[in-house]
Amino acid sequence: MNIWLVFILAGLATYAIRLSFILFVDHRSMPPVLIRSLRFIPPAVLTAIIFPEILIKDGALNLSLGNTRLLAGLLAALVAWRTRSAVLSILVGMLTLWLLQWWAVR
């Protein structure tokens, strides 16, 4: 298939998904349980992306101290919890990762 066609169809699918509830569903017809579940969407979705990113290394679960991304991620989470600053959390996480990588190749 032509790559442009792939982009356009994938883009249309993504756009349709984003439009879905906004355009077609009247929230007054949503069941109350759905309304109550809305506040859990950000933590659930984002954590479902974060955990594999920092805990899975080379296709397998890695909980060891040798997992640099896990250590850097934990430190970033600590900074985010204490300071609530996105900038600081991202910078500390990145610097930690670089430091640990540099340490590992020495």
Binding site: T14, H27, F40, I41, T47, A48, R69, Q101
Partner: protein, 246 residues
């Protein structure tokens, strides 16, 4: 008028700290897209047409691997299914807007613009926490007339859109000088950590996050990245369960 401008600028301002993580991720996408064999035009176009970072990353891997087009479309769509949850979450707030606004804001509904806008809507909606009253609050004409919060969403969305397009371009043109060993792809996970952790405010939300994370690990090998959606739904269910118990 003044309030519209304030909402719009506040939206941009709320998005700015997150861009520290988004820009390196966009640059790495640009680098990977070129390395996968896409042309500069195609690499940039994907950022505008698909406009969803993690699915664009996976798309570059699939291009390098020579994956059939239909499989690529399906995989990208499944990775982006989570946006249906975001759409559901924003729908109650946007339903009064003209269709043009809905079409525009849906295009800008990314992880990062969604989270800051959702938090803004919730924080400025005193009745939101008593969830049964959500529709009562939104449907009250007096508040609806004063509600300019979609301008906040627009500001956040446009700030993210512009930086995603520009950082893709930067990645495409600086490609050679951004080596793999910099691990800039890690900024995505860090950005999400910075968005999630400060909002873990009660036990139900913590339960939702933790169970989604654990299920995501267990379902990691599911085809077409379906594990993400399974994990998200499991997390939401756990949150509801803990909330009902307490």
């Amino acid at each position: 008028m003044a309030e519209i401008k304030a909402e719009f600028l506040n939206g941009i301002r709320a998005e700015l700290p997150i861009l520290v993580g988004v820009v390196p991720f966009g640059m790495i996408y640009g680098v990977l897209a070129l390395a996968s064999g896409l042309t500069t035009t195609q690499s940039q176009a994907m950022s505008a047409i698909v406009f969803a970072g993690s699915s664009q990353f996976v798309a570059t891997q699939m291009v390098s691997a020579g994956t059939p087009g239909l499989v690529m479309i399906l995989t990208i769509a499944v990775i982006n299914l989570r946006h249906a949850l975001y759409s559901a979450s924003m729908a109650p707030y946007l339903h009064r807007l003209r269709p043009g606004w809905k079409w525009l804001l849906a295009y800008l509904l990314t992880d990062e613009a969604y989270v800051v806008s959702a938090i803004h809507y919730q924080n400025t909606d005193p009745l939101y926490k008593q969830d049964d009253d959500l529709s009562a609050e939104i449907d009250r004409p007096s508040t609806a007339l004063l509600d300019n919060r979609h301008w906040f969403f627009l500001g956040a969305g446009l700030a993210l859109w512009a930086s995603w397009q520009l950082s893709t371009a930067a990645g495409i043109f600086l490609g050679a000088v951004v080596p793999d060993s910099w691990s800039l792809d890690f900024t995505l996970a860090l950005t999400f950590i910075a968005l999630v952790v400060p909002n873990l405010k009660d036990r139900a939300v913590v339960a939702a996050a933790l169970s989604a994370g654990v299920v995501a690990i267990l379902a990691f090998a599911a085809p077409y990245k379906l594990g993400l959606m399974i994990a998200a739904l499991a997390g939401i269910a756990s949150g509801l369960f803990i909330e009902a118990k307490s």
